[in-house]
Every structure is written in C-alpha cells, then in structure tokens.
C-alpha cells in the first residue's frame, strides 16, 4: 500500500511539473500584482523597454546587472517628470550612459512612455 501511494505521489508530481510547462510563459514575469500591467508589459517586452536586460525589477526573471535595480523609485526620483526625462534621454544626466534613449530615439511611443512611467514609478 505504501508503495502504491509513493507511486501515486510520484506520478502526480510529474503531472504538475509537466502541466506547468504547458502554461503560457511570459518569460519575464512571475505572478505579478502590479497595478500597472500595461506599463509592466512594455517594460518586460524585449522589443520595447527591455528593462530587464540591465535592471532588476520586481517580478521580472533573469535580470541583467549592468544598471541599478529599480526599487524605491519615489524616493530616488521625488519629481516624476525627472524620471520620465531619464527614460526619455538618459545621456542628458550621463553622457557616458549605457542606457538607450527610449524617447529621443523613438524606441517606444510617447503613449507607451506614459504607461511605462507609471509602472516604473510604482516600483
């Protein structure tokens, strides 16, 4: 009887593992509770913000470590518009920056920038 129950546990564990492999994978996000899902989507989209390439962000998987983690954003940027400017053109504050100019080079649209800003500012 013990062997049977072990067998059943083994089989059901395998089923759970295989089942979860079939879940749609947003490779970037774990289960997220952000109030700004649209902004998060832009941030985690490799063709748009691609922020995880360099920044650690809550609920983002496998972040790069080239740039500061995006946490405590309100205390780091008391003025939200300064944060927007930074994402828009980071070379203004740092000419040697390794951050793409997401606004100036039109990597994302102004509307996307607004949504992204809400998400980043909430971190």
């Amino acid at each position: 009887m013990r062997k049977t129950s072990n067998y059943l546990i083994g089989i059901s564990s395998l089923a759970v593992v295989m089942g979860s492999a079939l879940l749609p994978t947003n490779a970037a996000a774990e289960e997220s509770t952000t109030p700004f899902p649209e902004g998060q989507e832009i941030a985690f989209d490799r063709g748009k913000g691609n922020c995880l390439a360099c920044h650690m962000i809550k609920d983002g998987l496998s972040p790069g470590n080239i740039a500061p983690p995006l946490i405590a954003m309100k205390s780091r940027f008391p003025d939200k518009s300064v944060l927007r400017d930074q994402i828009w053109d980071a070379s203004v504050r740092n000419p040697e920056t390794a951050m793409p100019l997401f606004g100036k080079h039109e990597i994302i649209s102004e509307a996307e920038m607004d949504k992204l800003l809400e998400f980043i500012y909430s971190l």
Binding site: L52, S62, G64, N65, I66, E96, A98, H105, I107
Partner: protein, 273 residues
C-alpha cells in the same frame, strides 16, 4: 571605491583617446591591455574567461570541438590544386601557419588586407570564384589555417612609412568608440565599459582577446562563422544598419581591434555560444 574611480578614469582616457591624435597605437594598446588587466586582476594574461564556470565549459568543449569537421574540410581545400594546377601554397609560401600575419597594411593596395580578403585575392588571381565572407566554405579554409596557426602571437603592425596605415588604424579606433544604432551603443559600451556584467543572463565578453579565436563555431549559428559575420550581427543587435563584410569599415575595425590584442596567442578556431 578607489578602484572604481581608477577604472572610470582609465575609461575616460580610453574614450578621450579618440580626440587625442598624438597617442600612438602602442600607447593605445598599452592602455587598453592595462585597463582589461586591472578590471580582471585574477585572470592570467593569456587565459580566456573572467568566469570560472565559463572557463571550465570552454575547456570541456575543446575536447570534442564542434569546429573539427571544418578544419578537415579546410585542409582538403588547402591541399586541392586550383583548375590551373596551382595551390594556396603558391600564394602563401609560409602557409598554412599564416594567421598571425593578418590583418596587415598593404602599401601597394593602400588598404588593410585581412586573411579572408587575401584568400579571395589568391583565388581570383588563379581563376577561381571568390568565396562569400560570412557563411560557407570560407569558414573551412579559415578554420584550417587558424588551427595550424594556433600558438602564434598576435603581431599586427602599423608601419610608420605610410600615413595611410595610421589613418586606417585611427578609423578603426574611431569606429570602436562611436555610438551607433537606435539603441545608441558603441563597441566600447559593452565590451570595455560593461564587460563581464550580465545583459539579461548573458555575460558581456571583454574586448581583450576578441580577435584570437576566429573563425568561431557559435551555437547560435549552428556552424562556424567569420569575425565580420559577428560584426554585422553586433551592429544589427544595436539596431544599426550593418556594414559590408570585408568592406573598408570592418577591415579597419579588425585592424584596430586585433592590434589591441597584440601579444596574445592565436587559439582559433573557437567555440562560443
């Protein structure tokens, strides 16, 4: 903190070197190599990898390398006479141990000649069709020559007797430090400024030693490819329009970049992700 400030200062000088036309190639090389050695003080000078696991993976792959069939095929190319009866050895008497002689400044042609270019010039001089520069058979013969040339030291020269050589070197250097593409990166942004850091889960490789192991089997390509193929890929990755393989920009870039690794042993062909 002191170390970071020192690195930053060197990086500023490296970036600023573009503006200082008095700096000689030797001075550039010394600074470039010192920058890399100080950034990775625990890596012995000839070794690949700042990352122990990466180094061990590379050593394991070298035991059953994916580029081996290309070496064999390249050897056959080297030994097979052209239609006119001549062979590559007639063009390259010291061959196949010749990778260390390239890239070189060719005074007569007034341009940088890379090994790939020299191979095609040899072929065309003997009535053979030239090979494509990114994919295909060029990688076979380059693999054979690279393998035979293993252990030779990188020894690029910028001869003093032709100002064109220094101009080509300076053009390559300028290219290296110039931002390009919608994403606004220069080669230096990743491979000097941020080397060894992770972009997502991939580590950015340091610039020192970038030219020793070509052609390279890249898992991403599933085959062996040339340095200029990698240049075009890098340019596309920063959303810049790539230049032509073996065109002037990439030959000058190869000239500068290889000079920076002078003294390092050649160890091609390579195997990378």
């Amino acid at each position: 903190m002191k170390n970071i400030l020192k690195q930053l200062a060197m990086l500023m000088v490296l970036f600023g070197v573009v503006l200082n036309v008095q700096a000689t190639p030797e001075e550039d090389r010394e600074l470039f190599q010192r920058f890399n050695q100080e950034r990775f003080p625990n890596v012995p000078s000839q070794e690949y990898s700042f990352d122990q696991a990466g180094r061990e993976n590379w050593e394991a792959i070298e035991e059953f390398p994916p580029y081996e069939p290309f070496i064999d095929s390249g050897q056959e190319m080297w030994e097979t006479p052209f239609a006119n009866g001549k062979t590559y050895k007639d063009c390259f008497p010291e061959g196949p141990v010749i990778a260390q002689n390239y890239p070189r400044w060719d005074k007569q042609q007034g341009m940088v000649v890379t090994l790939a270019l020299a191979i095609n010039q040899c072929r065309e001089a003997n009535g053979e069709r030239p090979l494509k520069y990114k994919k295909g058979d060029i990688n076979d013969i380059l693999s054979y020559i690279a393998f035979q040339s293993r252990g030779q030291k990188t020894q690029v020269e910028v001869p003093a007797d032709d100002p064109g050589a220094l101009a080509a070197y300076e053009a390559g250097k300028k290219f290296y430090f110039t931002r390009r593409g919608q994403l606004n990166f220069s080669c230096a942004s990743c491979h000097l400024q941020n080397s060894s850091l992770n972009i997502r889960s991939e580590a950015l490789s340091p610039a020192l030693g970038h030219t020793t192991h070509w052609p390279t089997y890249r898992s991403k390509w599933g085959t062996v490819g040339t340095l200029h193929r990698r240049f075009t890929g890098c340019n596309k990755q920063v959303r810049a329009k790539p230049f032509k393989a073996q065109g002037e920009e990439y030959r000058n870039l190869e000239y500068y970049l290889t000079y920076m690794s002078n003294g390092l042993e050649l160890n091609g062909p390579g195997a990378r992700k």
